[in-house]
Symmetry: C2
């Protein structure tokens, strides 16, 4: 593909992600995407056969970005500091979008669980990889006695991912940062993440 | 309305709820609803002006049922036992549907947050009432020293509702009861709900 072609494709993916995440997959029309990305219909169909292929490409790109985000957020300091850093960066990530749109994987899970095995499969993999990364870091933090260890790392990881998804849902619905902030701060207390200084999320 | 008319209206609401919850509002067509409920198009339009009015009636009915469910689940025994009972009954409620469809309010939140102020308003009220009921019971349980009290009842209630919604999302996506079960059991441990016997959820 030419450099110009790559750039157009990237722009379509980026703008489509924004539209899908705020309107939802089913409610989004090809016209919505053309309007948001400013490309012609011919150009769009040169790159993607239709809405489904486009949505899969958007999800694949978002997945790649999210895994890179996780690896980066979980890489700093001790395991406990890394978890704390992940909480702070997850909050900042949603704050940057003004809490509009929520989480594309959570949204897709709810839209596709019973209707699109293709989308549901990709999103299942994302949640599974995300949970595994958190679980690994929790096991290390428990080993370092940085968080409580009376619950298994697998159980805590499942619960943390669920709490974040639910917190993002509430924050998006109420158009207020409070639910996600409260969820993250409460999780920190419940996990006894006491070794790192408890900075207030703001 | 005649008794027969009431019965038809009730049947449309019940079957529509099932379709909306599994396909989502936008992906559901009037034909889907006619097929599921077995009523004629004329009959449907006698009761509802269209999909939006029908969906609002479904949400209003589900809200009424859910509030009655909450009041009943939270009414037994000491405050700590009532919370425990709510956890068990919430799990049983989703187990009964084989974890298909998830939570109609969570689904609607994700579909409607940015696109339908009418739906979003109703769902906001549901989450607000739900959180307030849990918060009241937590405050009582803290007062009775049945759960930990180093976190405010408001914070814990927000987090519990978020964790349940996230757990239901995961359980629906993975078609496995594990995530919701793990979330509920982990919450019980984190809250120090130790005064009531810890029955395993199954």
């Amino acid at each position: 593909m030419t450099e110009k072609g790559e750039k157009t494709r990237g722009k379509i993916l980026e703008e489509s992600a924004r539209v899908f995440v705020s309107k939802g997959f089913w409610a989004t029309s090809i016209s919505d995407i053309l309007k948001a990305s400013g490309v012609t219909k011919g150009n769009l169909y040169f790159h993607f056969s239709g809405k489904e292929e486009l949505a899969m490409a958007v999800l694949a790109k978002e997945r790649e970005d999210f895994m890179a985000f996780l690896d980066q957020a979980l890489s700093s300091g001790t395991p406990g500091e890394a978890l704390n850093n992940f909480f702070e960066q997850a909050y900042a990530k949603h704050q940057k979008t003004n809490f509009i749109g929520g989480c594309i994987f959570g949204n897709t899970a709810l839209e596709a669980s019973e209707t699109s095995p293709l989308f549901a499969g990709l999103v299942t993999d994302v949640f599974s990889d995300w949970t595994a990364k958190i679980e690994g870091k929790i096991a290390q933090a428990q080993h370092h006695q940085e968080i409580r260890s009376d619950l298994s790392s697998a159980e805590l990881a499942t619960m943390i991912v669920a709490t974040l998804e639910g917190g993002i849902m509430q924050t998006r619905l109420l158009k207020s940062e409070a639910p996600l902030r409260v969820c993250l701060q409460t999780l920190r207390t419940l996990l006894d993440m006491n070794l790192t200084p408890k900075k207030e999320l703001n």
